[in-house]
């Protein structure tokens, strides 16, 4: 039950332990020791030996997650990358409380998680903004559920819409906004409940490059202003390096954490930075192996 402390705590020594018997020599680009975390004492989120299997349509059981061990410190920005089908979204949904692990422990602030809670807000890939509400009402929703007094809600709507630069669109409906603006509404809606942990599931995958760049900058700024803990899932390694304090690489089915990389590059970063590219390159080499594995499985099955 107790996680092996040597296994997961990002170490300050030369190497980053990954799995027993598998040690990674950190590269100069991104392997240097982590900067001092904001609150090093207790991990905000701790996954110990989390496994998840579920029944597929043909009745067999599929192991989606296999003994995941991960710790996220308060105020940390963790990115999870992996080939599609590695269960990274599932992992995020699990932390949000939508799945129960088949085995293992999921703790937030040293308390076990039972179901969804407003301390962890998930921004879905499809956003799930409410089309029958205005932008302002969408942002208000979580606060209303928390029974925050109306006056304070009003204030916070203003505050968070200002934070994502959407003050002018308070009374618009979601369908009247562009893709990037919708992303920001989702971000404001999540932030307005003032969650401890923000979970983001490939939020920028469907956006054009310019909008995505812009939102990277904004997310970084907002993260620094609010000090929230973020777990960010993406298939885009560069994006992960651009944003994360740490990047965890997951394996193709069953999903395991293959390696963790601490990204010790100065902020603000840019997607085009050479250091970001170099670092991404290194992770990508590892990721490619996993992608090949997934392709092999897919095509192997197709030709059989």
């Amino acid at each position: 039950m107790t996680p092996n402390p040597a296994l997961r705590t990002p170490s300050t020594d030369e190497s980053i332990p990954v799995r027993p018997g598998q040690w990674k020599k950190p590269s100069a680009a991104c392997g240097s020791p982590l900067r001092t975390p904001r609150n090093a004492a207790v991990p905000k989120v701790r996954l110990s030996d989390i496994s998840l299997n579920y029944k597929t349509n043909d009745g067999s059981r599929l192991l989606a997650l296999d003994k995941i061990n991960l710790q996220v410190k308060a105020g940390e920005f963790l990115c999870i990358v992996g080939p599609s089908g590695c269960g990274k979204s599932t992992l995020l949904h699990l932390v949000a409380g939508f799945h129960t692990p088949s085995s293992g422990n999921l703790m937030v602030d040293d308390k076990p998680v039972a179901g969804p809670g407003t301390d962890r807000i998930l921004i879905f890939q499809e956003l799930g903004l409410f089309p029958w509400l205005t932008v302002g009402q969408n942002v208000e929703f979580g606060m209303k559920m928390k029974a925050i007094p109306k006056a304070e809600r009003k204030e916070r709507i203003q505050q968070y819409l200002r934070l994502v630069h959407l003050s002018k669109f308070k009374d618009s409906y979601v369908h009247q906004l562009s893709g990037g603006m919708r992303q920001r509404v989702a971000l404001a809606r999540a932030l307005a409940t003032e969650p401890d942990v923000l979970l983001m599931d490939e939020p920028f995958a469907a956006l054009d490059a310019q909008t995505r760049d812009l939102l990277h900058d904004e997310l970084e700024r907002i993260w620094e202003e609010t000090g929230s803990t973020i777990i960010f899932v993406t298939h885009n390694v560069r994006e992960a390096v651009r944003l994360g304090d740490r990047v965890a690489l997951m394996t193709f089915r069953p999903g395991r954490v293959r390696k963790e990389y601490s990204i010790d590059l100065p902020r603000p970063r840019h997607l085009e930075d050479v250091s970001v590219a170099k670092c991404a390159r290194e992770i990508l080499d590892d990721l490619r192996e996993e992608i090949n594995k997934s392709l092999e499985e897919e095509y192997g099955q197709a030709t059989r």
Binding site: A96, F98, P131, Y173, H175, Q176
Partner: protein
């Protein structure tokens, strides 16, 4: 739009022309096959002596009461059936099979329970539309994208508030069709129910025409019933639908 209107004008013009010609040929006596003029006069007379107005008012009042009751009960039932697999398999299947029962079949039961009273008619109206409203609620919840319910729970909505603030509005576009159908069923049940005894409604007016051998009045009331039905459908429901689609951005689909 204008083209569609023109088509309709031509169609209805032709229909009335055929009617006039058939009536002028005098193949059947006027008490079997009335002339358009006679029907129009009967319509005028009905409005002039207020009997049509009163009948419309009485019928509409019953409609609003009965349909309103059916919607509220249907919501509760739909919520109950939708909330548990057990209820869905048991009560849900009963509701679906009961829907094959024409609503007028409830009338004998209603008369025995409530006598020849207002309550009996209301009962028939409620039974006529309750099932389709319930099934619509259930269907709506099934068709509604799951993401809304997940997002709602994620943001801290539970139980009743999840239903009221998320599930209900999210499934509204899907249940609207069912609500519309429920209204149509309620309207039919109401008219049938009113035909049974002196009830002052449109249905009774229809029966009165029969009793007096006044074919003009029968046709006039029938036209009135159709007109009210399509006005509610075309104005009330179409407006709600349009506004909903506009708000949701379903018109300018993304």
């Amino acid at each position: 739009m204008a083209k569609r209107l023109a088509k309709q004008v031509v169609f209805y013009g032709a229909l009335i022309a055929i009617w006039v010609i058939l009536a002028e040929l005098k193949i059947w006596p006027p008490y079997v096959f009335p002339t358009p003029l006679g029907v129009m006069e009967s319509m005028k007379a009905g409005f002039a002596d207020h009997s049509f107005w009163i009948a419309m008012a009485v019928s509409m009042k019953r409609m609003l009461l009965g349909y309103g009751l059916a919607v509220i009960l249907g919501m509760i039932l739909g919520l109950g059936v939708g909330s548990s697999k057990f209820l869905e398999d048991t009560l849900g299947s009963l509701l679906v099979s009961l829907q094959s029962l024409p609503s007028i079949c409830w009338l004998p039961l209603a008369v025995l329970w409530f006598g020849l009273t207002e309550k009996a008619i209301l009962f028939v109206v409620v039974m006529g539309s309750l099932l389709s409203v319930t099934i619509a609620m259930e269907d709506g919840r099934r068709q509604m994208p799951k993401i809304y319910s997940m997002a709602g729970r994620n943001l801290g909505a539970t139980k009743f508030r999840l239903f009221w603030h998320v599930l209900l509005p999210a499934s509204l576009p899907y249940i609207l069709t069912g609500l519309k159908q429920g209204w149509a069923f309620a309207w039919r049940s109401l008219i049938s129910g009113e035909m049974i005894f002196v009830s002052l409604g449109l249905g009774q007016l229809l029966m009165m025409g029969r009793d007096l051998n006044d074919m003009n009045q029968v046709i006039a009331v029938m036209i009135l019933i159709v007109a009210i039905g399509s006005v509610v459908d075309g104005l009330v429901f179409a407006t709600i639908e349009r506004r909903l689609q506009h708000k949701w951005g379903l018109v300018t689909a993304t």
